[in-house]
Amino acid sequence: MSRLKTFTNGFIKENPAFVLLLGLCPLLGVTTSAINGLGMGLATTFVLIMSNIVVSLVKDFIPAKVRIPSFIVIIATFVTLVGLVMEAYVPALYESLGLFIPLIVVNCLVLGRAEAFASKNSTLDSIIDGSGMGLGFTFALTLLGSVREILGSGSFFGMKFIEGDGMLVFVLSPGAFLAMGYLVVLINKINKKTA
């Protein structure tokens, strides 16, 4: 039961993006379309789960003082891995995400979970926490990406359903802040009701 709770926590109640406001940079930077959001979310989820696993395995061997640098090295290793794999198999997505792939390293979400959860819990729990938080983040990215794509270019996952252009501002940078602002309002409302 509590494991299920660890897993579902990441979706709405403690959604890393909407409620904890972690990882805002990639969230706003790559979500010009739903597919970009989904790709970025899955890449982050992979890094999150893998680094959670490794951190929870080695937590007893790392002296507390060099904890954070060691975590960063572990995370950077998996980020490099994801970058190389994406460049080889989905080059188009890799191109459009660009700079934000190496920047997963400095995503506060990944380091935050390593420090706050994986360094204190068992491997299995860390995997569950990593997948819950990662999928919650993916959900947020895809949602924001969908909103911006639907409003901005009148399509959804690349399928066009209205003729001509949408409200272009939502694809450009101001739209990211505006759409995100209103989504946070919405999530706050929902959380208030269920709480």
Binding site: G29, I68, A76, T80, P102, V105, V106, P174, F177
Partner: protein, 199 residues
């Protein structure tokens, strides 16, 4: 002359926070007061310039020399993390008053994606070392400009009557959106300047 274009483009046209979305976390997080924003800007400028120089040299003389560019992410983040630590230690000894002013912001900078982002962008854009330094300074100014304007707006926002659900972060995000829209007015300026100077 290229320097002028790099500077204008980095500060106004492709503002690091409002157009490139780097360093959004501190932008939203520490922008409650103009004073703290100034401190944060100082710390970021300091680290960003040093980090760009060091990572540039490492990229040119270590990674490229040995053909191990795939180690870029790992190397850069380690360099930046240790640099931040070093700056903190040196500052504590050399200038306690500056350390007092910047102190709390320094550890935060390791996970500020603007620093790593600028370091990677400098390498990707094939800048020379001097251009890289100018690029880093201009981006730091751009970050500071956006942060300070935003902090000023938010100080006034505290006095306003905002709908309950929008208090705090949501309304801050919407203000940031409007600010980004204002900065979009600069787009194309760098081409105009290039034309004036006949380039």
């Amino acid at each position: 002359m290229e320097y002028v274009i790099i500077i204008i483009s980095a500060i106004f046209v492709n503002n690091i926070v409002l157009a490139k979305f780097l360093g959004v976390c501190p932008f939203i997080g520490v922008s409650n007061k103009v004073e703290t924003s100034l401190g944060m800007t100082g710390a970021v400028t300091f680290v960003m310039v040093i980090a760009t120089i060091v990572t540039y040299l490492i990229q040119k003389y270590v990674l490229e020399a040995f053909g191990i560019q795939f180690m870029q992410t790992i190397t850069f983040i380690i360099v930046i993390a240790s640099l931040v630590q070093m700056v903190e230690i040196i500052l504590k000894k050399v200038s306690p008053s500056l350390y007092q002013a910047l102190g709390i912001f320094l550890p935060l900078i390791t996970t500020n994606c603007a620093v790593l982002g600028v370091a990677i962008l400098t390498v990707q854009s094939d800048y020379t070392l001097m251009e890289g330094v100018v690029f880093a300074i201009a981006n730091a100014i751009g970050f500071g400009l956006a942060l300070i304007i935003f902090a000023g707006l938010r100080e006034h926002m505290d006095l306003m009557d905002v709908p309950k659900a929008m208090k705090g972060v949501p309304v801050a995000l919407i203000i940031a959106g409007l600010l980004a829209m204002a900065f979009m007015g600069f787009s194309g300026v760098e081409r105009g300047i290039a034309q004036i100077f006949g380039m």
